[in-house]
């Protein structure tokens, strides 16, 4: 049973212009997406830069104004209540930011950074608070003495762990992770990803994992949605997406990911060129006359593709 549903979410940014600086058009940053979240599952959001991934995440957590659509959390419509800072919703949904460095106030010590959600959401005594902070540090595998330090004294991976500690301080149900590892080196990335998986299992967390790195998403997520121009082109379990991609855009994306082996790279290159050619040719069938992505339609229980049925047949 999902604890949260997102229905036809839209975020439009006005473009002002014309003589009186009126709204002449909109940027359809997010243009009608629907999702459901189940406990303990990780959902991946993949797409090219600028396709609206971050906006989706931010609008869910309340950092962006939603233009249309609704968010139902535990049966309650919270679309317009997200901005009530200390609501239960805000406590239960937390976020991990891409740039761990800039997501922490450089002038605050670690203990104050970690205390922020605790003070806002949980009414604890100072002793309890400090105990909780130590606990959190222990969870993310950082020593006690980190409390008194400033963020810049930590490496990227450690900072990201502190970010995670802060996000889990209030025992949230869903953590939105917006490219949590893309700024990190391979070796550090591995630490953080492992760690995120650990606490997911331990606390039954759900993730909305935003990334442009398909490898990472595949590693982390149970369900994956491929986003293009503010809409989903394809959505399904990771097997659906990786083993049985249906949408031409998904295929193109997948073919572009380099493999970590030089063996057979010439073949891959040929395949890539083939997919690219297909994309140019069949492109029309997958997008309507305005270049907009069609609505998703199911092709299995878990697998949804945005295309006309004729395209699907042709694509197969």
């Amino acid at each position: 049973m999902s604890f949260m549903q997102i229905n036809d979410l839209k975020v439009h940014y006005p473009i002002r212009g014309g003589f009186f600086n009126t709204i002449v058009d909109n940027v359809y940053a997010v243009d009608g997406i629907s999702m459901e979240f189940e406990k303990g599952k990780a959902y991946g959001l993949v797409g090219e830069s600028g396709c609206g991934k971050s906006t989706t995440g931010k609008s869910i957590i309340g950092l962006e104004k939603i233009s249309a659509g609704s968010i139902i959390y535990e049966g309650e419509n919270v679309t317009n209540k997200r901005r009530d800072r200390t609501s239960a919703y805000n406590r239960d949904i937390q976020m991990i930011f891409q740039d761990s460095h800039s997501s922490m106030n450089p002038r605050k010590r670690v203990q104050d950074i970690l205390a922020e959600p605790i003070r806002n959401f949980l009414k604890l005594t100072p002793q309890e608070e400090s105990r909780r902070i130590s606990e959190l540090l222990a969870i993310v595998g950082m020593p006690e003495d980190a409390k008194l330090k400033y963020p810049h004294e930590f490496s990227g991976g450690q900072k990201q762990r502190l970010g995670i500690a802060r996000a889990i301080a209030t025992n949230p149900k869903l953590i939105i992770a917006d490219e949590p590892v893309s700024a990190l080196d391979l070796s550090v990335q591995a630490q953080v990803l492992n760690f995120m998986k650990d606490i997911q299992d331990e606390y039954g967390l759900s993730y909305l994992f935003i990334s442009h790195d398909l490898g990472v998403v595949k590693h982390m997520c149970d369900y994956i949605s491929i986003m293009y121009k503010g809409r989903f082109v394809e959505s399904g379990t990771k097997y659906d997406i990786y083993e049985n991609p249906q949408h031409i855009y998904t295929k193109r994306l997948l073919s572009a990911i380099p493999d970590i082996t030089p063996n057979g790279r010439e073949d891959r290159k040929l395949e890539r060129i083939e997919v690219e050619r297909n994309y140019q040719v069949e492109h029309k069938q997958y997008f309507d006359e305005n270049g907009r992505v069609y609505n998703l339609s199911p092709i299995s229980d878990t697998h949804f593709v945005a295309a006309t049925s004729s395209a699907l047949k042709g694509g197969n």
């Binding site: 931010k58 800072r85 976020m95 930011f97 959600p117 806002n120």
Partner: protein
């Protein structure tokens, strides 16, 4: 983990936020000129305030005609002006007044500018729009002229009204700068993080955003302080300065308008002019050093 501990030990040395006092201090240690300026600045400012305790304004401004343009001597260390009033006393009290005026203007414009700038940058939207229109309007005002008209209007023209009038026009620049800083700062993830962590806007503005632009604030305050020191002199020259009975640097410097005083009675205007020059120079150098300290890219040390 063992090794990591070692790493941490090494880092302990720099346990301060990246824009803390150490950084500033290091910057000064690196830059001899700035260091020297800092000393000059501190010494002059404190010197003026302390020395002014030894002068009685009424006594200093006493006209003693027989001492008209008395050259420097043991009774009048820096000579006397046209009315035979002691230049040193006027210089000290005038400097004190100028400093107080500068401080007051800096504070008033600074605080207004900071409040408005922070709010505009953080909230954006109509608040920002409204204030930006107002600021745009102010910026295109021919402020010097309007200040002059203002000054001719106020019935009781005192140091206090002077400060107010200047401040009316002074806050916009600061507000603009703070706004742009606050704007970029407010778009940073730590602000977003605080929002998602349930902190309310005012706490974010004053406890998160403001401390992070504090270095800019200090730099701006310093530089605008330097600018404000000289503000009275120009108006005095044009005849719209403080009342002549108030000792002021402007009055002293404005004596230079007379070529005879400029060349023959140099002791009347030169000390005040030099005072302003040296003080503004040193504050400027200090401000620049602070600016470098605030900007990691430009740091020397």
């Amino acid at each position: 983990m063992v090794k990591e501990k070692d790493n941490k030990k090494e880092q302990e040395i720099v346990s301060a936020p990246p824009t803390g006092f150490q950084v500033i201090w290091r910057e000064f240690l690196k830059d001899k000129v700035a260091m020297f300026s800092l000393i000059v600045m501190v010494v002059t400012i404190f010197g003026v305030f302390i020395a002014s305790l030894f002068f009685d304004p009424a006594e200093v401004m006493k006209v003693s005609l027989r001492n008209k343009y008395a050259p420097p001597s043991s009774t009048h260390w820096l000579g006397a002006d046209i009315g035979g009033s002691d230049i040193l006393g006027q210089l000290i009290i005038g400097a004190k007044n100028s400093l107080l005026i500068a401080i007051a203007i800096t504070l008033i414009t600074g605080i207004t500018g900071i409040f408005i700038g922070l709010a505009c940058g953080y909230f954006g939207g109509w608040i920002d729009n409204m204030f930006m229109r107002i600021i745009d309007f102010f910026i295109t005002l021919p402020s010097l002229m309007i200040i002059i008209v203002f000054i001719t209007i106020v019935p009781k023209y005192t140091v206090f009204t002077f400060i107010l009038i200047i401040s009316i026009f002074g806050w916009t620049g600061i507000a603009r700068l703070i706004r742009s800083k606050s704007l970029s700062e407010s778009r940073r993830d730590y602000v977003n993080a605080s929002k998602t962590l349930g902190t309310n806007d005012f706490v974010i503005i004053f406890k998160e955003v403001m401390p992070n632009i504090s270095s800019i604030l200090i730099v701006e305050a310093t530089l605008s302080f330097a600018g404000n020191i000289g503000i009275e002199t120009g108006l005095t020259y044009l005849g719209f300065g403080l009342p002549p009975s108030t000792p002021s640097l402007g009055t002293l410097v404005a004596y230079a308008n007379n070529p005879l005083v400029m060349s023959t009675y140099w002791w009347v205007w030169l000390p005040a002019a030099l005072f302003i020059l040296i003080l503004m120079l040193s504050i400027n150098y200090v401000g620049q050093a602070l600016r470098r300290a605030a900007d990691a890219k430009q740091r020397l040390g």
